[in-house]
Symmetry: C5
Subunit: 86 residues, 5 copies
């Protein structure tokens, strides 16, 4: 799993059926590299989160039919930007 930070929501109109029912968030890693993650937890911009990839991402979405390769698995309590960027 990776430590990422939520940047903002992402809105798509034409999209795959199995993604449509869930919230998508733009997340960034410690270098500012952006990805898109499914959010079954309920995060807000600025939260430090654990993101889960590979086939575990579908399980973490609560339904293996959901076509995600990256899912937010939890909000980290004790993480600071200083620790992340070092």
């Amino acid at each position: 799993m990776e430590i990422q930070r939520v940047v903002r929501d992402l809105v798509t109109t034409k999209r795959n059926f199995w993604l449509a029912a869930k919230s998508l968030r733009v997340v960034e890693d410690h270098k500012g590299q952006l990805s898109v993650a499914l959010d079954p937890v309920g995060c807000k911009p600025g939260d430090f989160v654990i993101t889960i990839g590979i086939s575990a991402a579908r399980l973490a979405a609560g339904n293996p039919k959901i076509t995600t390769d990256l899912t937010i698995g939890g909000i980290i309590d004790d993480w600071s930007e200083a620790e992340w960027r070092s």
Copy 2:
């Protein structure tokens, strides 16, 4: 998932049976790195899209027998090149 932009179509004559029935697009990431994605959505060059990898790519293609490792999952409504390259 990653945020990519559609560059152009890709034509192959000799190809794997399970890829043959679907449109393929060349997509680029924010650094201009090229990949090839299956397109079940119907995109045109210049569209910003979400691409889905890993085993979820096969599910997103609408048929897990389709031999893709990257599938376009949706067209993003609210994304600009400035936001992408920053």
Copy 3:
């Protein structure tokens, strides 16, 4: 598998059900790049470990329903920082 070193524990309050029952560790690779791994072995900070990714991470967790993409598979007996950084 990769050779990584355990940095510290990670505490999350809001998290995915299948991650909740297991210990999470922050691990670093030889460049200091951080990741988060599930620990079914029982490691302490400073241990050099083998981390297992991909779908094997779920099997290594002892339960394929556990939503991890990185799991500690063992503690390495004979590894030094000099060998790692070279």
Copy 4:
């Protein structure tokens, strides 16, 4: 999928049973980085091909028991080195 170019054949004597029945090719990406791909299509050195990774590689090999993580999915008709290196 990635766009790669076939470099040459690869000969191995001691190898895994499920790889033994198929041709292996050394392929390179646009930076000259080498990988090894299974070739169920029939390529020759210099061909630009689409390579398929992840679990789809096994399906593309025509038999999911074949232990490949990279399989050639088709020969690209309309691709030039100029387009690739840009």
Copy 5:
């Protein structure tokens, strides 16, 4: 698959049950980057090998319950360091 070279054996005392029955080797890629691979073939330091990743690594181990994400698939007959580093 990737072309890697066997560096040395790896000894772990506390480890995952499904890894315990098999030999582990430290392997390096053409940049000297280290990984750990399961060896069902029987390699010695200095051998150039094909390594298999993703879910195929478990199949190549001879038992899909073995929790590996990288397995040696064969020893390459005709490979030299010059070809590798170029």
